[in-house]
Symmetry: C2
Subunit: 232 residues, 2 copies
């Protein structure tokens, strides 16, 4: 497997995908066409507009980006793709579409057979065992919370540290993740913005400038530095 | 109907339920016993411990607080209750339990027949048409997102204004609510911490010191001041 699983598509002060371009130029080397899955539709953007945005973002790396929604046989399109990008937006919407169109297992198979994967935000969330550590609102009802499971843990993208100066009484991200683990034994990796996981064959490493925070059930949360192996 | 639907159980710098006590003393006047529904289990707290906490918080107003989990026939307990408090925590967990135990419609009936209701956070979320504007993580899979519908709109509790100084690229609360409305035509009321909705017969008014923010599909979001009627 070859995958880039990024916390966010965009870091503060730079353009869409810009911070990932050096990595993506290597990742998508010799790739002419990327299949884009626009189902997460951030802010309700149309599939066409979102695909145009992805195309613009990837323009320095690949010649052509084509939206999955354009294919009559989506399963075939995924199976044939040499590279796949699943963009961010709403994870519930993305997961609902993938399940209802019967694409979740096809996508997993394609990645395991060598299609080069890029996921950002919701597109990274689905690489975990379930989508249950998403930050998104349940704007639609998916038939299941299960996801690809190309990682043997869950991702929390856009991870935010508790703000000790805050007067807000809503739960912190940490509290929410621990609440998840009071009922589920899945490990959760909090990926800060600007971080990504690189899967190179069976090796997962943390990339970017920031440490990740690791929640193992029953343990104190701890950090792992960039270039660490994520092996649990 | 007589209900208090609060954004949060606790405001910064005061104890559990403290800011609501003047209102609750009137609301629960002549009430000896409050039935507490502890299913949302914040932080994975046990039903017993959560009930003890609710009991302590309500101590200045009512003599006795009893947890729903203690009853063999929960439907009967809800139907017979003169006052019901549904505490906050995880909305997915709360809604799953209420549906799976067949209690959602019984609870609605009991409130409509005059049981005095108090909800905080998740317990307020369920007063809307659906739980789809919760801030919580989907830590369990409920059989449906439908909720009580004693309000004809949805609630977003712990509403947070966008922070224009933030460098974080995760979605703001406003963006998430608008994303919900790109697929659903439900009105959403963002209740800031310290605000509550008071239902007095068929009249809903906004209480507390802060304005609420109203999201109507296709309109610019706008604010309503304290004491405004919430009628859409």
């Amino acid at each position: 497997m070859q995958a880039i699983i990024a916390s966010t598509s965009t870091v503060y002060g730079s353009s869409y995908l810009e911070y990932l371009l050096p990595e993506l130029k290597t990742h998508f080397k010799n790739i002419d066409e990327v299949l884009f899955i626009p189902f997460a539709r951030p802010g309700g953007i149309s599939h066409d507009d979102y695909t145009a945005k992805a195309s613009e973002g990837l323009e320095p790396c690949v010649e052509s980006v084509i939206g999955l929604h354009k294919f009559e046989d989506m399963k075939e399109a995924i199976s044939n793709a040499k590279a796949i990008f699943v963009g961010g937006g709403n994870t519930f919407l993305l997961v609902k579409q993938l399940h209802e169109l019967g694409l979740m297992s096809v996508l997993k198979q394609s990645i395991e057979s060598g299609a080069k994967y890029l996921g950002t935000s919701a597109g990274s969330n689905i690489c975990g065992l379930t989508m249950q550590t998403t930050n998104d609102m349940p704007i639609v009802y998916p038939p299941s919370f299960e996801t690809l499971g190309i990682l043997n843990f869950n991702i929390n993208p856009h991870y935010l540290d508790p703000d000790s100066s805050s007067t807000h009484k809503g739960e912190t991200r940490e509290t929410r993740i621990k609440e998840f683990q009071s009922l589920n034994s899945t490990i959760v990796v909090g990926l800060r913005e600007g971080s990504w996981i690189k899967i190179n064959n069976s090796e997962n490493t943390l990339q970017g400038d920031l440490p990740a925070i690791i929640f193992e059930p029953g343990k104190q949360a701890y950090e792992l530095s960039p270039n660490s192996h994520l092996k649990f």
